[in-house]
């Protein structure tokens, strides 16, 4: 359970970090290390160089910009958990963060690290997809932004290039109807199913609903059939039930030792029903 050998650099600037990352195809970014270190310990990853971002300035901060909050990639889960700005402007993040592992992990693990890792059972990918967040990245070819819809493309796979670094995530605050639901065997475990739903309340109805599912499926994704349903009329108990049935029919859940496919399908249906009922209260 000891990591394989690698080289280590701790650059002092973002440019320097990008240079190191671009210098070797097997170079990897090290932030909090709470996902990477277990992969190294189990020898599932063998990077040539780890580029530690802890001394790179400008990756911190939670900045309320009005219609969005700009969150630095290096912000820890613990900082999100204790942030008043997040609690007031993005309460769905406060609701989700306590499901991320344990206090000892949340004090080290980072918002950007989890997002870039794109673990389908990670809370942030599901939440950021449901919020329609925008990722800010920098690489040897300069800066660019990537919409959440185009960011998470597969299990542990994002459209971030190998030599790019996620620096910030811009999270819209306009989706004031929200719900985050997670089913896990016990507190802090990886979820068996995650559902995040958001919308913009307008005259007792929801507009622009976005519903995302994680953990129960191989890759975090939106439930567009459910979203369409939610835009068709006022959110009622009957609509929540229909949404649950639609969600169950539109996914192909994974099956493993922690829960088989049919069980996870039922979990997703239940979580979608609960999420829609919570959205109703927000609408």
């Amino acid at each position: 359970m000891k990591p394989p050998k690698f080289r280590y650099v701790a650059p002092k600037t973002l440019d320097e970090a990008v240079e190191h990352l671009a210098s070797d195809p097997d170079a990897k970014v090290l932030s909090g290390g709470q996902s990477l270190m277990p992969l190294l310990a189990m020898r599932l990853a063998a990077p040539s160089i780890l580029v530690d971002l802890q001394h790179v300035p400008g990756l911190d901060g939670i900045d309320d910009q009005g219609s969005s909050v700009l969150i630095g990639a290096g912000v820890t889960h613990r900082e999100i958990e204790r942030s008043d700005v997040i609690a007031q402007r993005l309460p769905i993040l406060s609701s989700a963060v306590v499901h991320i592992a344990h206090p000892q992990i949340r004090s080290r693990g980072t918002f950007g690290g989890s997002t870039a890792h794109a673990d389908p059972s990670g809370e942030w990918p599901t939440v950021l997809l449901a919020l329609g967040a925008t990722m800010h990245a920098v690489g040897p070819r300069g800066r660019r932004t990537i919409e959440a819809d185009n960011f998470f493309v597969g299990p542990f796979t994002s459209t971030l290039d190998e030599d790019e670094i996620l620096t910030h995530v811009s999270v819209p605050t306009t989706r004031t109807a929200w719900s985050f639901q997670e089913a896990a065997v016990k507190r802090g475990d990886y979820g068996l199913a995650l559902v995040a739903a958001t919308g913009i309340p307008r005259d007792g109805q929801l507009s622009e609903a976005r519903v995302a599912v994680g953990a129960a499926v191989g890759s975090v994704r939106r439930l567009t059939d459910v979203e369409r349903l939610l835009s068709q009329g006022p959110v009622t108990d009957a609509l929540a039930e229909e949404a649950a049935v639609t969600a169950a029919a539109s996914i192909d859940p994974i099956s493993d030792i922690h829960g088989n496919s049919e069980y996870r399908r039922k979990l997703v249906a239940t979580l979608v029903r609960r999420a829609v009922l919570e959205l109703k209260n927000g609408a």
């Binding site: 280590y8 290390g33 270190m37 613990r78 592992a101 206090p103 004090s107």
Partner: protein
């Protein structure tokens, strides 16, 4: 002579108020640095991949799994381990509460629980039982069934945990 080029780095950090310096491989974990380079074996290694919590230490006053942190990441930082809790032979309030409430049996997980609870009580001197349960959920104990651990932390909170320790600061 090894045929694999091996990079070694100088690293120094403060553990329980004392400066430790060593030259280590980049892959050396903070846990191994504490146990082997600093010769402080009170911190235990269970799973070595971040699940069991036995290796929890305080890194700049926050609880961290020392198996999921590289020694080089802790360069220049302040570490506290279980060895820093007692004042000589005198157990601190939290340690005494663990003994009185039977919060340990084999003791392998205890250092991790003590450091996690220390961080909790330093941030929140009057935690609810729910707060304590949430905090200890990050550590595994296969002996006690947890209730006595939760009670020990409750007792320490009620008595006002003595967070000062001889050699820190």
């Amino acid at each position: 002579m090894s045929t694999t080029p091996e990079e070694r780095l100088d690293v120094s950090m403060t553990i329980n108020g004392r400066r430790y310096r060593s030259t280590v491989e980049a892959r050396r974990t903070l846990a191994d640095f504490i146990r082997e380079d600093a010769q402080l074996p009170g911190t235990k290694l269970g799973c070595e991949h971040g699940v069991c919590g036995a290796c929890t230490v305080l890194l700049d006053d926050l609880p961290a799994r020392s198996c999921l942190t590289l020694a080089v990441q802790a360069e220049g930082r302040q570490i506290r381990t279980v060895e820093g809790l007692a004042d000589g032979q005198e157990l601190n309030t939290l340690q005494r509460a663990f003994r009185e409430q039977h919060g340990l049996q084999c003791g392998f997980c205890t250092a991790g629980f003590l450091m996690t609870a220390t961080a909790l009580l330093e941030e929140n001197a009057t935690p609810t039982r729910e707060d304590i349960v949430e905090t200890v959920s990050g550590s595994l104990c296969r002996c006690t069934g947890y209730q006595t651990i939760v009670s020990a932390i409750e007792q320490a909170a009620a008595e006002g945990q003595n967070v000062t320790n001889g050699d820190d600061q």
